[in-house]
């Protein structure tokens, strides 16, 4: 629903996951709701400064603001703000529920491991399961297939890290001693930044990775090329040649 609202973030960062549109739509909703109040307040504010600037012979009025007829000028707006807040809460909670709390069944699972100062991504091999012999572990390189619902299992080996993929609008801290599960479904092929968004020591600034969103064919080809079985075979072949 929210993704149909025009987005301002989209101009800067493409949307590459199913829920990116929701977050961008939510941004627009909040922008409009608070924007109205912000501009209204600033306009009234500057108008009052101009209108009631000091003039010779004009005295200020004595307004206590304690009378109901006067107080309504701040009471009504603040009730209206409460109303806008409710709207924002409802929208925000829905988006949050979909992204963080609800966990649709996975088609693929990747393990994401943060450590000082690199990301290790454990991809399932051709068998589609992680924690098996044909897992493909890559450093700072995440390969996912477009339009597949991925679960990530996020871990940290040492300090706090944060797995952030701006094109997905996704962010989650990695906590040592915890495994946090989340999900995403890529919708657009391409290659973008993955950042660490929680300070993790000297190398925090260098702890970037790249996400490669590939079509099914590209992904299969990559998997075939990188699978441990294939790599072992290549190595054996190389040895033979020597």
């Amino acid at each position: 629903m929210l993704e149909r609202i025009p987005s301002v973030i989209d101009v800067l960062v493409p949307q590459a996951s199913t829920y990116a549109g929701d977050i961008d739509g939510l941004f627009t909703i909040i922008l409009v709701s608070v924007g109205i109040w912000f501009f209204a307040s600033e306009i009234v504010f500057f108008w009052l400064i101009f209108r009631f600037r000091k003039k010779d012979g004009v005295r200020a009025q004595y307004v206590s603001g304690e009378k109901q007829s006067e107080k309504k000028w701040v009471t009504y707006p603040h009730l209206a703000i409460l109303l806008f807040d409710v709207l924002i809460v409802v929208a925000a909670v829905r988006v949050w529920y979909d992204i963080k709390q609800d966990l649709p069944p996975a088609e693929r699972t990747v393990r994401v491991i943060g450590q000082q100062w690199a990301w290790t991504f454990v991809h399932p091999g051709p068998d589609g399961e992680i924690d098996t012999a044909d897992d493909i572990a890559k450093v700072n390189e995440l390969h996912v297939e477009v339009d597949r619902l991925h679960h990530y299992k996020l871990e940290s080996k040492d300090v706090l890290h944060n797995f952030s993929v701006p094109v997905f609008r996704l962010k989650q801290d990695a906590i040592p001693g915890r495994v946090i599960t989340g999900w995403f479904t890529p919708t657009k092929t391409g290659e973008w930044d993955v950042q660490c968004a929680e300070i993790c020591g000297v190398g925090h600034g260098l702890m970037g990775a790249r996400i490669h969103i590939e079509t099914a064919e590209q992904h299969a080809a990559w998997m075939a090329q990188e699978s441990p079985l294939q790599l072992a075979a290549n190595a054996a072949q190389k040895q033979e040649e020597e």
Partner: protein
């Protein structure tokens, strides 16, 4: 100003409770709170240990610290700080107290309860036995 000071001085000359009686009650409660847990029944342990702690604290605060004579807002102040601590507990406990939650788990949970390696005396004391409900923990400890 002087009248306010006089007033506060007057306030101090209030009826003093019988301190000795309170003290004896406190000692009796102390004995109960020590004896209660010896029955090794969990509910009685909790009641005698913590229930009596609350009663003792109440007696001290009321009769020794004279909170009932002090201005009312002092009691509210103390209550407020306690309520905020409850709030803190309520906000933090879902993360800290639980082995797992919505979409997260702590895989190290089971093995980290007792860090035996840093505890040389454990072998000697571990076999004492402390009630059956801890049987599992012993098994857990044995694996280290």
């Amino acid at each position: 100003m002087s009248d306010a000071t006089a007033e506060s001085v007057a306030e101090e000359h209030v009826h003093h409770p019988n301190y000795t009686r309170i003290y004896v009650i406190l000692l009796v409660l102390l004995v109960i709170s020590v004896l209660g847990p010896m029955l090794e029944i969990r509910i009685i342990t909790l009641l005698t240990a913590f229930g009596i702690a609350v009663v003792k604290a109440y007696l001290v605060v009321k009769n020794f610290m004279h909170i009932d004579i002090a201005k009312r807002y002092i009691a509210y102040l103390g209550a407020t700080s306690l309520v905020f601590m409850l709030l803190f507990f309520a906000g933090a406990a879902p993360d800290v107290m639980k082995p797992d939650g919505s979409n997260w788990e702590k895989p190290l949970w089971q093995q980290t309860g007792v860090d035996i390696t840093a505890n040389p005396e454990h072998a000697a004391h571990g076999e004492d036995g402390h009630g059956d409900e801890h049987g599992e923990d012993h098994a857990e400890d044995g694996s280290h």
